[in-house]
Subunit: 104 residues, 2 copies
């Protein structure tokens, strides 16, 4: 894995490293939603959510779409598929354990 790939992985993980952002993407599992719905669901301030949505968007985990006064956010399948692949490779490697080399 290249440095670039590691950087990308770290960026994706970082985007999910906060409870509020995890709550946001969990909410988006129900499908595309506007900011007002998300704000209601999370009982929190608008600028705070806007900040976290931006982090998720910059990591390309979600995308947005304006329709009239509303902006709708939704999950990005591709980034999530990449992330799943990354984690599965780690898990599989953890299965192939062992070796038990020694330092001397």
């Amino acid at each position: 894995m290249t440095t670039k790939h590691r950087t990308n992985a770290a960026v994706l993980f970082h985007a999910l490293s906060d409870q509020t952002r995890v709550a946001l993407i969990e909410k988006l599992k129900d499908g595309e939603q506007c900011v007002c719905e998300l704000t209601d669901a999370l009982h929190t301030g608008q600028s705070r959510l806007s900040f976290h949505l931006k982090v998720l968007k910059e990591a390309e985990l979600i995308h947005d779409r304006r329709e009239g006064r509303w902006v709708y956010y939704a999950l990005n399948r591709e980034a999530l598929a990449d992330l799943e692949d990354f984690v599965r490779e780690l898990k599989d490697a953890a299965g192939r354990t062992v070796s038990s080399k020694r330092c001397e």
Copy 2:
């Protein structure tokens, strides 16, 4: 998903939200290794690595084992499996897109 689960997910993701820690777990795909090997591989200071190993360990993504003067670290399959499940559920939800509700 409960608040506790979201917290756990955020903790796991946080542990992987740093390039150095991603590099560490990538290295551990090759199997159990002592700190000295990891330090050599990453060309970095010992206390710095110790810090990052602790973050990964507290998230239970890795575990350690002392043998003589050396401490060996290895991946924890269980946490990685949990993480994979979490991400897969997100990805699957992203597939079931749509709805296109409107705010009025």
